[in-house]
Every structure is written in structure tokens, then in C-alpha cells.
């Protein structure tokens, strides 16, 4: 039984409950226990452009919660992973630690931060996951969207190969689905510029939706609620801006994984996917 503190961040518990639900249900299948982080707040990422230090302090505060629980942290959002990992490194810096203590926080145990998908790859392992697959999704063809902060900057993570990434593709292939090899796999969804220039952000999201359509993909698989906002919530806007039709469902990885575990569509929250996934569900039977 592996136990982690689950960090939910802002968006997931309020706007992406299907991500949380499917992640928790997959965890159960894999004998992983998630402990709740009481009074966990925003990770601080929205403030980074305003003041990096304040943002890091917010992140560090969340780490103190996990630290007192003496558990490592698993995150669901790429940006949360970035902030918490950065804070974890900064806490080793004397100056920052001093400011942290001034606010009354303590850090009794060192905390390791991993994204849910990274945790599956490194701590659980593909072989262990394969054993639980009951329903290989071999009829599905999907586009893997890694997102930016899953592996970059490599100075912070040292995981996977930022130039030739493969871990997420491997995890998708484990479910039986085909993960398309496409150019611009590493490209950003545009989420961070949505509030600055909507047209630009939608253009960036459109780029990958276009690739998905060209490859005849059944879905875009995302591991970050920010990215899902771009590909799913703004899919209609992309269709309008570029005068085209997509209708491509955007699934979170644990939804895909859960389906391959044989969980039913409600257990992975399929009714919350905004672009209706009926066609996809029919395909897998």
C-alpha cells in the first residue's frame, strides 16, 4: 500500500471533478492511498508573474502541510507540480527558508513532489499497471499532450527526456490505446496567455486540435486542468476562429486508464467531459 498526500490545487476540486474522481478510483485499483491535505490552498502559480517570491511562499505553505503529515505529495495539475517542486528546491536555500520560517511555517520532513502520471511511471511501474488492465483499449487512437511543466525545466525535474519524451506515451500504450507520434508533441497549450490575449491562446490550442483531427485521433489525453480548459472548454472558440469542426473529446489520463481497468464510465466521470465522448465509448464497447 503506497500512501501519498494528494494536492488538488484550485481548479481540479471545483472545475475538474472527473479528473479527481478517476484518479482516486485508479489509485484504489493500484492499492494507493491518498491522504487529504487539510487547508491546502492555491499553489501560487497565478502570482508568479506578479511576484515570484510570494508565489513560492504560497507553494511552500502547502508543502508544510504535507511535511507535517510526513508524506510525499502527488499533484494532478502540471502548474501545481512546477510550483511545489520549485518551492521544494527553494526551501534548501537559506534566504528563502528564513522568510518561510518568519511566516510561522515548519518543514519537519523533506517532501518529494511528483505529478500523478510520473508517480505511476516511477513508483508503480508499467508492469504493475499492465497486470490490472482488464480491457485493452486497442481500438483507440489518441494524442498525448504532455503539457509544459511535466518535464520542463529539466533542471528541476531530471525526469523523462524533454527532447524526446516517452513516459506518458508508454503509459498510454499500456492501456492498449495507440499514442500518435507527432511533431510538436512538446508544444504548450497556450493556457498561461488566455487571460492576456485570448485569440493567441486559442490559436495555440487550435494547433494541436488540428493535428488531432488530421491524425484521426479519438481523443486528446491531458494531464493538466489548465490544458483541458484550452483544448476542451475553448474547442468551440477554436472552431469559430478557424472555421472548422473538431468535436474531439478531451480525456484526463486516469479516465483512460480507469476504462482500461474495466471501471464503468461513471466511475471515471465521463459525464463531466464537455465534448461528448459517446462515440469514443461506443468504440471501446
Amino acid at each position: 500500500m503506497r500512501k501519498y498526500a494528494l494536492f488538488l490545487g484550485c481548479t481540479v476540486p471545483v472545475r475538474a471533478q472527473h479528473y479527481e474522481l478517476s484518479a482516486r478510483n485508479c489509485a484504489k485499483e493500484l492499492n494507493i492511498e491518498f491522504a487529504e491535505m487539510a487547508s491546502a490552498s492555491c499553489c501560487g502559480f497565478p502570482l508568479k508573474a506578479v511576484d515570484a517570491e510570494t508565489a513560492l511562499l504560497l507553494a511552500a505553505r502547502n508543502l508544510s502541510i504535507a511535511s507535517k503529515m510526513n508524506l510525499n505529495v502527488v499533484t494532478l495539475c502540471n502548474s501545481c507540480t512546477a510550483m511545489l517542486s520549485d518551492a521544494q528546491m527553494q526551501l534548501k536555500n537559506k534566504e528563502f527558508y528564513k522568510k518561510y520560517k518568519e511566516l510561522g511555517f515548519s518543514y519537519p520532513h523533506e517532501v518529494i513532489v511528483k505529478h500523478f502520471v510520473r508517480m505511476l511511471y516511477e513508483d508503480i511501474g508499467i508492469d504493475a499497471i499492465k497486470k490490472i488492465i482488464k480491457k485493452p483499449l486497442s481500438s483507440l487512437k489518441v494524442i498525448a499532450h504532455y503539457g509544459c511543466h511535466y518535464m520542463r525545466p529539466s533542471q528541476l525535474y531530471g525526469f523523462d527526456n524533454p527532447e524526446v519524451p516517452h513516459t506518458f506515451d508508454e503509459l498510454i500504450r499500456t492501456t492498449g490505446a495507440q499514442s500518435v507520434e507527432y511533431v510538436d508533441k512538446k508544444m504548450c497549450c497556450g493556457g498561461s496567455v488566455l487571460g492576456i490575449d485570448e485569440k493567441l491562446a486559442v490559436t495555440m490550442a487550435n494547433h494541436k486540435l488540428h493535428i488531432a483531427k488530421n491524425n484521426g485521433a479519438d481523443a486528446v489525453i491531458s494531464i493538466c486542468p489548465f490544458c483541458t480548459v484550452m483544448y476542451e472548454d475553448n474547442q468551440r472558440k477554436a472552431e469559430e476562429q478557424f472555421e472548422t469542426q473538431y468535436g474531439i473529446p478531451v480525456l484526463y489520463y486516469p479516465q483512460l486508464l480507469g476504462l482500461s481497468f474495466g471501471l464503468d464510465k461513471n466511475a471515471v466521470g465521463m459525464r463531466f467531459n464537455r465534448v461528448r465522448p459517446e462515440a469514443l465509448l461506443e468504440k471501446i464497447g
Binding site: 527526456n161 527532447e163 524526446v164 511533431v183
Partner: protein, 710 residues
């Protein structure tokens, strides 16, 4: 011990000093013009002009020099100070070990040349022509190295007809060259004049050869040899005139044995041989950086992405007829993730490839994508020619190479137009960087200074080279073009011939002496020696006389004071300080290569500093121990200045970095003890920076807090 004092044309009127019966004080007129007879083991104190002058006039003596001219007479300081300086110098010399002459007998006057490329061939020829017996070892089955792989050298022509074969022909005229192929040096031991080398030879496979070539026809294994296809059994038309088997790819199927008109042996074992040499010349040539590490350019992932060498060989042999080529520069070089330095020759190599393909196929579109164009010297003309022939030059560093709809695409910003370009090509050429031959230098025990072998500033011989018996030629230390390589090879040959003209080398280079009884084998000295001169042999510490440059850093590092530098001694320096420094003095411990000379300049340029500034010359700022600073502070000094060479200019490569590390810790400790942190200062003072020196010591002298404890 004698104390020789110059009267400096009457300016020095020393009060009488009584040292007791063992030490005599002699006053001389114009000491600098006298030929004093000083015994080789005799210890003396010479008080006169600056040691910068006197050392040259009194070479190879065991002396402490006291600067009476520049530091007393020209500064207008008192005779009492002169007396104090001399007394302190005597205290130091009492415990100093005289420097013993070191003799390296040149027992063996033959040379080992490692590498059969163009540099090795040239060195071997030059030496053999001058009567030296040469053993040349080459790790591949054929002579020629990188030049033999190329299609052309710009602008002279092809390597075989024009450059390489005449070289090889000249070499073969000499009967006193032994060539060993498929051979590497497994271990190299010994000293100059007497090296013992173990050679390891891999089997060639072909024992007798009639050059019929039938083996190549039947060999089933095809190998991609840097852009050109060959079989596992192959021939390079340089030397020797025999085929050879590449056992890394050979499957030992035996087909060649069946048709061989000579003799092929597939099951030979490697052999070893011991040889001697008086000098070793490292000519191991170019080592290309592994560009598959630069992942964004897809070297191993994408077809048709190749290095400059592979491109040249493929185009020259006609195997590749590209229509659109992109040549990317600085692949791996000038990049903190790969090689931080510039590899110097890749700029003109890339231009050479551009010219090759444009000459062959004038309608091919060539894009040269380079951050900078370092086509130095007359290579600038090549750059001009290429622009005139229609090659496109794009300034920028491409972010990636990828495949799209069957074409290779290079994405880069063009700084000239500020536009993002996506260039579709069928071939991408990566102009890769180079690395030094670390393996060979490791075997020779030569340390690397960053990425390249440390070059010695030989304090006595005054030249920049590796230890006396080891020479380099060509690209082994740093990439060079063919022209520069040939010049370098001739220089190396000259150095070897010069060495062999002597039967022995005698120097009075001070070395570190390590007292085995005090040494606990903690190995701290081994780590701090910039030259790798200290090693442990059979549980005993050993200093390699050939490598030790006499910097004194180990003698300060050793926690047991087991290491003493001949002619300089931490205890001696301590005694000198304790005798010289009085209350409220400012002590300046200045490195002899830079900071000390600034004080002489201060005298000539008439910058005055207070009389209570006491100056002591040390071999290196890295040879000052924190306890020396404490000695001064215990005597009530106001401050201690340690003066050294600027970073990266240290005469002993890293001595000043050691000093910096010690300064940080010392400051922390002084703070804990209640001293002001600025009571000790480590400053970089160039040999002309008299004003800087004077400003610093005046500041330290005027400090109210200096020397007092809280």
C-alpha cells in the same frame, strides 16, 4: 649561514646585528656586480635589490632575498626596518631545506610517437631524419588518421595525392622507424629519458596479403564507416599495403579465408610488448563530440542527419547527391549543456563542406546556419567565395530538426531579418565540436585544467609545455587545421631533438618533500595538487619530480605539515612573520609572480606607503596558511593582506582559487573569534598595479577596527 648585505652605494647603513657565532654578516659594495661564490648546499640571506633582479644574478642558490633597495631606500624607510627584515629572513632560513639539484638522466634516446595521423607521421619523419630511433604506434590498421578519411583539404587538394602520400613516403625512407598497427599504449611509466611503455596490439586478421581484393567481394558484412560503405575486411590506400579485418563488425563467417591468396587468421589473440623511450610525443589527433547527445537535431533518430565527416565522404564518393542541404554550426560547442568552449576549426570545416557540394552540384541549395562565422585568416576568402556561389548564410541557432511530410525541416530564427524560418531540406549536416584525448593524458598522469590538459609554466625552463619528456603534436590538445598541425609537429620534433642533445637535465626546481613519518595518507595533497604530481605507490606517498612545479600548495594543505617545499617552508614563514610583525603593523604576503612586483613598481613610480607595512614574498597566494595570518594577528598586526594573481592567471593554475577558499573559511573563523572580517584580505594584484597595492595597504592601515577583538 651568511648574510650578504649590499651597501647600495652607501645608502644602506645597517646598525650592527649580532646573530651569534654561526651566522656572519658581510657588507659588500655593489653586490649585484660581484660574482659571489656560494656553495650548492649553503643557505644565505641576500639583502640588496629586489629579488626580481637578484634571483637572476644569483641563480640556483638557497637564498632568502631581502629587498633593501626598493622597499627601504626608495621608500625612505628606516634602517631599523631594514634590520628587522634581515633578522626575520634569517629566522626563516634557519629551518628551510636547501633545494637539491635534480638530475634526469636521458638514458634512452629513442622516441615513442602515439598516433599515426598526419602529426605523428611528420614527427616520426623529422626525428628519424635526425638519427633518432622512433617507435610509432597507431590504433587503427592504417596510417593517415582523420586526413585519410577526408576527401579534400582546402585549398590544396586531395589528401592522398597531394598531402598525405608524400608525407608517408618521406617517413618510409627512414629505416629507423618501427610502426605498430592496431596498437595502443596500455600503460606508461617512468620519467623523462627513461619511460617504460606497455604496448597492446590487437590482431589484424590479415597476416599475408597479395592485394587481390577477393575477400571484399565475399564478405557479407557491410559497415557504414563515417558516411562511406565498406566491408568488415577492408583496405585504406595509405600504409601498410595490406588489407585488415575490423573485428568489431566481423562475424568470423570464414568466407574470406576460403578465397584468400595470402593468409588470414581469425582467431589470433592480442599481444603485449614492453618498450623504452626517452620522450613521448602524443599525436592522437581529433576526437569528435558525440552529436547524438544534442537530441534536438535528431542525429540518430532521423535519417539524413549527419556529421561533416560523414557528409564529405558520402558526397565525395558519389553516394549522396543532395538537392537541398542545411549545415548547422556550433553543434555541441559553445553550449553549457555540452562543450562550453569554441572548437575553433568547425567554422571553416563547415564552409569546406558547402564548397564541396556546390562544386559538385552547382544547383544544390546550401543553407549555412551559424550563430557566428569564425572563418579566421584567409578562410575569410572561402566565406566570400561561397556567398558569390550562392550559398545562403543564416545567422541564428536552430531550435530543432524534425521530419514533416517526408522532408527534414530545420526551424531557426534568422537574426538578419528577425524572422522565424522553417527550411525544408533533404540533408542536414551537423558541424560538431571536438574533445581532447582524455584517455591518453590519463595514462600519462596528466591532469586536465577544465577540458584540456594543463599546460605547465615551467618556472625554471621558462616555457609552456607538458613535463619535460612528454610532447604533443597536432589536435591532441586542441583542434587544429592541417597547416597548424604540421607546424606544431615540427615544433614538437625540435623540442625532442633538443632534449636528446643532452645526456642529462639538471635543474634546481624546488619540489615538495613529504615526510613519510608524519604523513597519514589522508590524500588531501593529492586532491589539491594542480599537476597530479603526488601519488601513492605501495602505501607510500610519492612526489613525481618531473611533474612537481614547486608551488607549495600541498605544503599548506597538509594538516600534519608533512609536506615541505624545498626552499620554502610553512614553519620558516611562520618564524619569519613572528619575528617581523610588530604591533599595529600591516603584513603583506605577496605572491612572487604578480603582487610582489607591484611593490617594486610602487617604489619606481614613487607611490609611498607607510613604514609599518611589512612585505614578505611567497611562491603563491595558495601557499599561505591561515595559521600564518594568525601568527601576524597574535603579534598585534592591524591587518594581513594576501596578494595573488588574478583568477585564471595563477602561475600554478589553481593556487589562487585555493587561497580564495581558505580566505572564506578564515574570515568566518576570525569573525567568531571577535575580529573584524576585513582584518584579512585576499586581493588580486597584477604586477603593474602599484597604485592598487598602495591604496589597499593604506586602507588597512587606517582601519580603526583592524587587529582589535570585540
Amino acid at each position: 649561514m651568511r648574510v650578504l648585505v649590499c651597501t647600495c652605494k652607501g645608502a644602506i647603513k645597517l646598525p650592527k646585528i649580532d646573530f651569534g657565532p654561526d651566522i656572519t654578516v658581510e657588507q659588500h659594495e655593489d653586490l649585484c656586480k660581484k660574482k659571489m661564490a656560494i656553495g650548492p648546499d649553503e643557505k644565505v640571506v641576500i639583502a640588496g635589490c629586489s629579488p626580481s633582479l637578484m634571483e637572476g644574478l644569483f641563480p640556483n642558490v638557497n637564498a632568502e632575498f631581502v629587498n633593501l633597495h626598493e622597499h627601504i631606500v626608495l621608500m625612505g624607510h628606516s634602517m631599523d626596518k631594514a634590520k628587522d627584515l634581515i633578522i626575520a629572513a634569517v629566522e626563516k632560513m634557519k629551518v628551510v631545506t636547501p633545494v637539491k639539484p635534480k638530475v634526469f638522466a636521458i638514458e634512452d634516446k629513442s622516441a615513442l610517437v602515439i598516433g599515426g595521423g598526419i602529426a605523428g607521421i611528420e614527427v616520426a619523419s623529422q626525428l628519424a631524419q635526425n638519427g633518432i630511433n622512433v617507435n610509432l604506434i597507431e590504433k587503427t590498421p592504417f596510417l593517415g588518421g582523420t586526413v585519410a578519411q577526408l576527401d579534400r583539404l582546402y585549398p590544396e587538394g586531395t589528401p592522398y595525392s597531394h598531402t598525405l602520400m608524400p608525407q608517408i613516403g618521406k617517413m618510409l625512407e627512414n629505416k629507423n622507424i618501427n610502426s605498430f598497427f592496431n596498437t595502443e599504449a596500455k600503460a606508461i611509466k617512468g620519467k623523462v629519458g627513461n619511460y617504460k611503455i606497455t604496448l597492446e596490439t590487437q590482431p589484424r586478421g590479415v597476416i599475408e596479403c597479395s592485394n587481390c581484393g577477393k575477400c571484399v567481394d565475399v564478405c557479407p558484412v557491410e559497415v557504414n564507416d563515417a558516411g562511406k560503405k565498406r566491408k568488415a575486411i577492408y583496405y585504406v590506400p595509405t600504409y601498410p599495403d595490406m588489407y585488415a579485418i575490423d573485428f568489431n563488425t566481423c562475424t568470423k563467417c570464414g568466407e574470406c579465408v576460403k578465397v584468400c591468396q595470402g593468409k588470414i587468421e581469425l582467431e589470433e589473440k592480442p599481444t603485449e610488448k614492453e618498450i623504452n623511450a626517452g620522450a613521448v610525443v602524443v599525436a592522437t589527433g581529433l576526437n569528435w563530440y558525440d552529436v547524438s547527445k544534442v537530441e534536438e537535431y535528431g542525429y540518430y533518430r532521423l535519417p539524413d542527419v549527419m556529421t561533416t565527416l560523414e557528409f564529405e565522404r558520402a558526397v565525395a564518393s558519389g553516394a549522396l547527391k543532395p538537392k537541398k542541404v542545411a549545415i548547422i554550426y556550433c553543434v555541441g560547442s559553445r553550449d553549457s549543456k555540452h562543450l562550453p568552449y569554441c572548437s575553433k576549426i568547425c567554422c571553416f570545416l563547415g564552409l569546406k563542406e558547402a564548397k564541396l557540394v556546390i562544386d559538385r552540384y552547382p544547383h544544390t541549395q546550401v543553407y549555412v546556419i551559424a550563430m557566428d562565422m569564425r572563418s579566421y585568416g584567409t578562410f575569410e576568402y572561402l566565406y566570400n567565395t561561397l556567398r558569390e556561389k550562392g550559398a545562403s548564410f543564416i545567422k541564428g541557432k536552430p531550435s530543432e530538426v524534425f521530419k514533416r511530410d517526408g522532408n527534414l525541416v530545420v526551424r531557426t530564427e534568422d537574426l538578419y531579418t528577425n524572422e522565424l524560418l522553417e527550411i525544408e531540406v533533404d540533408t542536414v549536416v551537423l558541424s560538431a565540436g571536438f574533445v581532447a584525448d582524455i584517455l591518453t593524458f590519463d595514462k600519462l598522469g596528466i591532469k586536465l585544467n577544465g577540458d584540456f590538459p594543463i599546460l605547465f609554466e615551467n618556472a625554471v625552463l621558462g616555457n609552456t609545455e607538458l613535463p619535460r619528456g612528454i610532447f604533443t603534436a597536432g589536435s591532441a590538445t586542441f583542434p587544429a587545421g592541417v597547416r597548424e598541425t604540421l607546424i606544431d609537429a615540427r615544433k614538437a620534433s625540435f623540442s625532442v631533438l633538443n632534449l636528446f642533445k643532452q645526456d642529462k637535465i639538471e635543474t634546481k626546481q624546488p619540489n615538495a618533500l613529504i615526510d613519510e613519518d608524519l604523513c597519514s595518507l589522508c590524500r588531501m595533497c593529492i586532491g589539491t595538487c594542480p599537476y597530479n604530481a603526488i601519488s601513492i605507490v605501495e602505501e607510500k606517498i610519492q612526489v613525481n619530480e618531473e611533474l612537481c612545479m614547486g608551488c607549495g600548495i600541498c605544503s599548506i594543505t597538509c594538516p600534519a605539515y608533512a609536506s615541505q617545499l624545498e626552499g620554502f617552508n610553512p614553519r620558516g614563514l611562520s618564524n619569519q612573520i613572528k619575528t617581523l610583525v610588530k604591533k599595529d603593523d600591516v603584513l603583506a604576503l605577496l605572491c612572487r609572480w604578480s603582487a610582489y612586483n607591484a611593490t617594486d613598481k610602487a617604489a619606481y613610480d614613487r607611490y609611498s606607503y607607510p613604514e609599518n607595512v611589512k612585505i614578505i614574498r611567497v611562491p603563491c597566494s595558495g601557499a599561505v596558511d591561515p595559521s600564518h595570518v594568525m601568527d601576524a594577528l597574535e603579534n598585534g598586526a592591524k591587518g594581513v593582506l594576501i596578494g595573488g594573481c588574478y583568477p585564471n592567471a595563477c602561475h600554478y593554475a589553481k593556487g589562487n582559487f585555493r587561497a580564495k577558499a581558505r580566505e572564506q573559511i578564515l574570515k568566518l573563523n576570525l569573525d567568531l573569534l571577535g575580529f573584524d572580517k576585513n582584518v584579512v584580505r585576499l586581493e588580486w594584484i597584477g604586477k603593474d598595479e602599484a597604485q592598487k597595492f598602495v591604496e589597499i595597504v593604506k586602507e588597512m592601515n587606517n582601519s580603526a577596527k583592524g587587529g582589535k577583538r570585540r
